[in-house]
């Protein structure tokens, strides 16, 4: 199996190109996906291949074009809607939460909504409070939708196929700092499951649960911990709804110590849910209380030192991990 160098951005694009080539019902719609090439250049070149009907530039009308995605899905298409960042998706929150997520149930099972919505998420690029928030954990609260958080090239490349096959609305959150991430991808990389977490690094002493950009920080921390003799297991959640408790609980049953890394705001974030599930299902396996390292509860500031301090960093992971192993100093 040959491998090649690609970026996360290219992997996402490949997946979309494949989908549009393979299924005439699939199309991409959103602000600047066409002529501009995508605000993060993900769809660059796609307008040229597929034309303006299938790579459809929309005006600034988040509520209407997300809702149009719902309607088009009902009408037999398989839309991929791009919302530039999850911050702007709040303009379409009504369509997502009150309509896309409820329609199947309200209609007694008659109308499913096979819609895929992609959005950028997260901080780290000094884009300040209206471009940097992490709302994937927030959306994961809503029944009726599926929430994907591809962190790896494999998932960036492979999750789209499953998302398009899923009969229900799927939200895909792409961390802004990952687009330029480069790595090896198998020549024939293709679809991957859109359920289930994955152990990215096995370990015995401690479980670190992470996702998105946090995965890479956690893996880096795990390397550093290894040098200190701490063997951390790192789990990539991959999917925030439905959560794969089983993988987490199974890991905790082995390591008895857990740290959850989540860029979202701390209070009421997805980290709390994971901690609570562990409490419910593995309380008696815990040697110490579950720890979490989350985004600080502040609108992300522009200044670099403040932004850095507002987000989980490797250093913070190391500190908590050491404490979990050695106890408070």
């Amino acid at each position: 199996m040959n491998a090649r160098k690609v970026t996360y951005r290219e992997a996402l694009r490949e997946a979309m190109v494949e989908a549009l080539r393979g299924d005439p019902r699939v199309f991409l719609m959103g602000e600047d996906v066409g002529a501009y090439g995508g605000c993060f250049a993900v769809s660059r070149g796609m307008l040229e291949e597929f034309g303006p009907e299938r790579v459809r530039d929309t005006p600034l009308s988040e509520s209407a074009f997300v809702g149009a995605g719902i309607g088009a899905a009902l009408g037999g298409m398989r839309p991929i809607v791009e919302v530039m960042t999850c911050n702007f998706s709040l303009l379409a929150a009504d369509q997502i939460v009150n309509t896309a997520a409820t329609l199947l149930h309200m209609s007694g099972g008659q109308f499913s909504v096979p819609l895929v919505i992609r959005m950028a998420t997260g901080g780290g690029k000094q884009l300040a409070a209206q471009h940097s928030h992490s709302l994937e954990g927030w959306y994961a609260h809503v029944p009726g939708i599926r929430v994907l958080v591809p962190a790896t090239l494999q998932d960036a490349r492979g999750m789209m196929a499953g998302a398009l096959e899923c009969p229900d609305p799927v939200l895909i959150f792409e961390h802004q700092t990952l687009y330029n991430r480069e790595g090896e991808l198998a020549e024939d990389a293709g679809a991957v499951a859109i359920h289930g977490a994955k152990i990215q690094r096995p370990g015995r002493d401690l479980t670190i649960v992470a996702y998105g950009a946090g995965l890479w920080k956690s893996l880096a921390a795990a390397e550093a911990l290894a040098a200190e003799g701490i063997d951390a297991e790192v789990i990539d959640l991959r999917v925030l709804r439905p959560l794969d408790d089983a993988t987490i609980v199974e890991s905790v049953a082995r390591t008895h110590r857990v740290l959850i890394v989540d860029e979202g705001w701390r209070s009421g974030g997805i980290a709390a849910e994971i901690g609570m599930r562990i409490m419910e299902q593995a309380f008696y396996q815990l040697d110490r209380p579950v720890a979490r390292l989350c985004g600080v509860e502040v609108p992300i500031p522009y200044a670099p030192q403040l932004e850095h301090a507002a987000l989980p960093q490797v250093e913070g992971i190391l500190e908590i991990a050491r404490e979990l192993i050695h106890g408070h100093e």
């Binding site: 209407a64 088009a72 009408g75 209609s107 109308f111 599926r146």
Partner: protein
């Protein structure tokens, strides 16, 4: 009321449909008092000419996206009265399996996409249905019914602009009953009427007396022809009036009784009955007969609903996500 002799049968059919809706909803009000129907119940009594005149013209495979005041639309589109009534009861035999209730009638067979209780929320959805048709080469229309209140929401603006930009086969049918709950038109919209609103998007529009079912039909026919010809969306306003409160919880503090009485004098059913009278058919006799027939249908619908089952509680979480078998 311009009814021609040769159209008498058609007129009678329109009368039949309006009477069915009227009697159906009068029954609903009664059942609500008897607590058979719960939650919010919004009836369209007084507004029947819009549903019958406009939606009656849609082809069987043309889609409707409606509001929470949609019993009339659902009946005209051919959802079985029993399935609607069972839904209002919350029974599993209801057209949404009892999960939706009065505000959320759905039916895949007749392409009835709700029953939406977010005012204006159906507009983007209808836009998307029309987009799908356009992309798939279907000439058929999607009809989105809204109240005039919905035209103040941002979704109206965004949807109109996109529908016009993309020349989508979308008919927006506005039931302008002069109030959004208790808020009178003058407090809802800086500019009355739809023509200047439609102009802002280069959309064709029309406004018609919504108490005259034949006028509604005429205007809707024109609108539909235009939309089906592929020139883009159309905004059709029907000026109408609800004879009852907004819902069952309305003290009607916001409008004078006299205004209600004035509009009642223009009852679309009475007007059509009179029109039939004027071409030599006995309007009142017809009306009585049709009411009897309607009551029979409604009686059967109530029986159907009464006999329906309660969904077992164990099935609560069905349909949150799809069941992939």
């Amino acid at each position: 009321m311009k009814l021609e002799l040769q159209n008498a049968d058609h007129g009678i059919d329109l009368l039949r449909q309006m009477i069915l809706i009227r009697r159906f909803e009068e029954k609903c009000v009664e059942l609500y008092a008897g607590q058979k129907i719960r939650g919010f119940l919004h009836v369209c009594i007084g507004e029947e000419a819009v549903a019958v005149g406009a939606l009656g013209l849609l082809a069987a495979d043309e889609a409707v996206v409606s509001t929470y005041r949609e019993h009339g639309h659902a009946l005209v589109r051919g959802i079985a009265p029993g399935a609607i009534m069972a839904e209002l009861y919350g029974k599993r035999e209801g057209c949404a399996g009892g999960r939706g209730g009065s505000m959320h009638l759905f039916d895949a067979a007749t392409r009835f996409y709700g029953g939406n209780a977010i005012v204006g929320g159906g507009l983007p959805l209808a836009l998307g249905l029309a987009l799908a048709d356009k992309m798939r080469g279907n000439a058929r229309v999607t009809c989105c019914v809204i109240g005039e209140g919905a035209m103040a929401e941002g979704e109206f603006h965004e949807t109109m602009n996109l529908a016009a930009l993309w020349r989508l086969p979308l008919l927006v049918l506005c039931e302008n009953n002069l109030y959004a709950m208790g808020t009178a038109l003058a407090h809802e919209h800086a500019v009355d009427g739809v023509s200047r609103k439609a102009d802002a998007y280069g959309i064709a529009s029309d406004s018609v007396d919504g108490m005259d079912v034949l006028a509604v039909e005429g205007a809707a026919r024109g609108a539909l022809e235009r939309v089906r010809s592929g020139t883009g969306p159309f905004l059709l306003e029907c000026r109408t009036y609800r004879f009852r409160g907004h819902s069952m919880f309305d003290a009607e503090l916001y409008r004078p009784k006299s205004e209600v009485e004035e509009w009642k004098a223009r009852d679309p059913i009475s007007q059509l009955a009179a029109g039939l009278e004027s071409i030599g058919r006995s309007g009142e006799k017809l009306r009585a007969e049709l009411e009897l027939a309607a009551d029979e249908v409604i009686g059967a619908a109530v029986e159907f609903a009464e006999a329906g089952q309660w969904e077992p509680v164990a099935d609560l979480t069905r349909f949150v996500t799809s069941e992939t078998s």
